[in-house]
Symmetry: C2
Subunit: 229 residues, 2 copies
Amino acid sequence: MPTATHTGQRIGLVLFPRLTQLDLTAPYEVFARVPGATVELVGAARGPVQSEFGLTLHATAARDEIDALDVVCVPGGPGIGALLADGAWLDWLARIGGSASWVTSVCTGALVLGAAGLLDGYRATTHWLSLDLLPLCGAIPTAGRVVRDRNRITGGGVTAGLDFALTLAGLFVGDRAAQQIQLLVEYQPEPPYPVGLEHYASEVAALRAERAALQAERARLVVAARQRR
Amino acid sequence: MPTATHTGQRIGLVLFPRLTQLDLTAPYEVFARVPGATVELVGAARGPVQSEFGLTLHATAARDEIDALDVVCVPGGPGIGALLADGAWLDWLARIGGSASWVTSVCTGALVLGAAGLLDGYRATTHWLSLDLLPLCGAIPTAGRVVRDRNRITGGGVTAGLDFALTLAGLFVGDRAAQQIQLLVEYQPEPPYPVGLEHYASEVAALRAERAALQAERARLVVAARQRR
């Protein structure tokens, strides 16, 4: 079992085409500042990977080079569709996740964890547009910016990766060191618009309608992935 | 003069070695979602650039390929030291900034704008550790997450890039479209620790002491850059 404070964490952020880059780069900024931690961007192969809107990131390790991680973290984005249908990724996640101290995700990365069988019976969160898909993953959907259930820690959509990573940093190195990271990345947010879905009922309804086909396809992929396992 | 709402913005984010990658990747995530906008990562040359902790980003355009931008944005990080001493970068910024609709920065990128002579007489902000250097740039230091003075918009440290970019998005495409971006990146932050320097007096003092030599060197570089112009 993970202990409350320890260093030397080996953290692997899963990198795949068409991910939402901020799902990865926001936690990276925090994890890279955790004393003693090493952070790998784990791709199907080493090398460049293009994110959702074109920004290119570099996988620093190939999946097959990684036998174990203290923390595995799956970001989300449109590219999860391909991951949900990719047996090699799901097998790797199931194996690495089975021995990792912390099994984590940001945004719709939770659906990938769930497709790999890693969220069965766990409370979890994801991007608000996908929360209703979590039961298909065997997870208990739980609204929240950061949801922890035993050694599963899932973050909400995109920018929740900051709250998620600072929470995890606190578990690794204690509150004092994590507070210093929060201070250095000047995380004292002031969103320019009101916060909370309740302020945007018509936008929320429009986005749900616009995404209905995509979400139905994700549901199908999650169910198919779990049937194959 | 910039108008209140318009699309087709060409946005250039300056990319340089040892930048703080989240200073760039957080605004990128917002700007890439602005309808009609194109976002370039502008480097000294096209190709890979390594950020502060090793994450590699790719310059999509070389500085010399860019004659004009609607928005120029300089992120910060340890790598600004080299920029402050780099006449080619400062000349380019002075030229592009002279015709851009919006001249902007995140974090200590403000010191680079100032070294290029772009903040003289403007209110501006930067990372809290560097706010006291702004007068050396001819700027009027102004505490704030996002500070706008005419067509200069500067953001505070690192994560302030989110508030900064959403504010700018609202100016480009109006509040409704910017609110939709805020909703899609689920920006309803819940920092795990109390927010505000006042909660961390001893940490703040320790960080200021630890960074004193670095800050003195930055001051020297800013003054030298402005004397050369």
